[in-house]
Amino acid sequence: MLKMTHLSKSFRTEVVETYALRDFSIHVRPGEFVAVTGPSGSGKTTFLNIAGLLETSTGGTYELDGEDVSKLGDDARSRIRNGKIGFIFQAFNLIPDLNVYDNVDVPLRYRRMPGAERKKRIGEVLERVGLSARMRHYPAELSGGQQQRVAIARALAGSPKLLLADEPTGNLDSQMARAVMQLLEDIHRDGATIVMVTHDPELAARAQRNVHVIDGQVVDLGEAPTLRMNAQAMG
């Protein structure tokens, strides 16, 4: 599903070249739930941005759903983001001027999906996250947990191949965080491929596999079966 090989991302100034990612290789298979962990500044967000085609890499290759996407232009990347990737952000990133329904509708409109189809999908995903009754509410009228569920509904509405979650519970209290994680696990159980970036070990432990990143490099691919079992046990 997601395969990065010797990927690098560097930022060059007049005097120095700084690497955010260096020789970064990772392979996420269809249906996997992978947590990418690491301390602040380790390159987690850069990885997520490149994985989500929000940024380009400076070296290496990136294949998404069997397609080399590392050299694509801006419009093609936009189309793939819209069609194949669902984003769940730490700060929810709902559009404050739009109600719940319209927020979920945003990526579907960019896809130029017919109105009836959009309506059907929005109804389904809001039902799934338990917010059918609040589709005319604005984000400011919802709790943090509800807002994140709207964001999840928005991510799911386009039936993406890959869900990218960036600290999805980072702005939530523990009770809401548990509910959101439960929802992500349910979505994963239904077959979704999820890559979640987090610095919270407890959260990471609920994923199938943990990939640990330090200084822009993968230090542990989390492939050992025992580690995965332990991680699940901790959850």
């Binding site: 700060a91 990526p107 896809r111």
Partner: protein
């Protein structure tokens, strides 16, 4: 571009959007009317005079000391004869008023003697047998005056004679009085006694002064009345290049004929026309400056608000990009948003334009704003809006999608 979500978002930004819409509305209302005023002023300054402007000079004189010893009719004939003999003079006449000369003789005409109100107010030129040729008027129907149709002004002044039996009118006046019917042979009444028959129609003859109504400006007639000295001014026709020399020669000649007089004014008719419309040109220039200033202020308002919105919604733009919006879709979002706000402003502005037009009609007797100025104003403001929003919209389109994951 779907407008429903843009409208939904705008509903949450009512105040700012309303302020810009009001600014657009005011601009639209004012610009439509000002464009109309400019066009009207310029149209007015291009009104056809009907006379050979580039070949005419005129001289106004006044006598000094006791008068009345000589017959003013004879004096006028002597002076005219002297002026006609000057080298280069093609034709000369003495007339009571000249086009664009401000000072005017006007009268009301009726179509029946017992008519309570006059049918039209008309500029009345008193013409001798040389006027048609001297002015260079284009006779498009009928004939000129016959010798026995001329009256002497002194007799008219003393009330010794009936109104003239014949009149030559402009085509505009003919249409005003008789519509599509042939005016030749028809009668008009200058008083309640005898009819005056229309014997000829000239294409144009502008009045000495007129307001904003260009039909009124061309409502003139020629009456066969020979003027006496003291009531007329001399008009001479010559080659355009000879006009300055002729004015000097004419002044000298008139003094040699009779030293007891002064020349009040002498000028080329083309210069008189230019002076007559000077105020219109200045006003048109001022109004153009007003329109340009207004457009600049409006454009700055749009640029300011759009830039503010782009800055404030930078993260939101990043989110949209992350969710799959292309740069073009972001650009179109802001362009569509601007189009919607400007459209609301234009709709309000059109109502305002008609309100201002109504007020101008009442206050300054201007004609009603023609309908076609509204789409012109609308197109100008739509174009201005799109131009003004382009730079902020391009900045918005350049917001990277990674903005969505930053600053957390």
């Amino acid at each position: 571009m779907d407008i429903a979500p843009i409208l939904a978002a705008l509903k949450r930004q009512k105040t700012a959007a309303a302020l810009i819409a009001i600014e657009i509305a005011l601009s639209c209302a004012i610009i439509c009317n000002v464009l109309f005023l400019i066009t009207h002023r310029l149209e007015r300054s291009h009104v056809p005079s009907g006379v050979a402007e580039d070949e005419l000079v005129y001289i106004r004189t006044a006598g000094i000391g006791a008068s009345g010893e000589d017959d003013p009719m004879v004096r006028a004939k002597e002076d005219l004869g002297a002026l006609s003999s000057l080298p280069g003079v093609k034709s000369a006449t003495i007339v009571n008023q000249i086009p664009f000369g401000h000072s005017s003789w006007n009268t009301g005409v009726k179509l029946a003697p017992d008519q309570q109100h006059t049918s039209a107010n008309v500029g009345a030129y008193y013409a001798d047998e040389h006027l048609l040729d001297t002015f260079g008027l284009k006779l498009i129907a009928g004939r000129g005056f016959l010798p026995d149709e001329f009256l002497n002004f002194e007799d008219v002044l003393k009330g010794k004679v009936d109104p003239p039996s014949a009149v030559i009118i402009t085509k505009t006046m003919a249409t005003r009085l008789f519509g599509n019917e042939d005016a030749i042979g028809k009668s008009i009444y200058l008083d309640d006694t005898k009819p005056t028959r229309v014997v000829g129609i000239v294409e144009h003859l502008v009045r000495p002064n007129f307001g904003s109504d260009l039909i009124d400006a061309d409502t003139s007639m020629l009456l066969p009345v020979r003027l006496s000295l003291g009531y007329g001014q001399f008009v001479l026709r010559t080659d355009p290049a000879n006009r300055d020399a002729l004015i000097a020669a004419a002044k000298k000649k008139l003094k040699s004929v009779s030293p007891n007089r002064i020349v009040l004014s002498a000028d080329k008719l083309s210069d008189t026309r230019s002076k007559y419309f000077k105020q219109d040109r200045v006003m048109a220039g001022l109004l153009i400056a007003v329109v340009v200033s207004l457009l600049i202020v409006t454009a700055l308002g749009i640029v300011g608000l759009a830039s503010f919105w782009v800055q404030r919604r930078r993260r939101q733009i990043g989110i949209r990009r992350a969710l799959g919006a292309t740069r073009a879709q972001i650009l179109h979002y802001f362009q569509t948003e601007n189009f919607l706000i400007v459209t609301v402003g234009i709709a309000l502005g059109m109502l305002g334009a008609y309100a201002i037009s109504g007020w101008l009609m009442q206050q300054y007797e201007l004609p009603r704003l023609p309908f076609f100025y509204l789409p012109i104003g609308a197109l100008a403001l739509w174009a201005l809006g799109q131009l003004a929003v382009l730079a902020p919209a391009l900045r918005a389109a350049s917001v990277p999608p990674a903005t969505a994951t930053r600053t957390v």
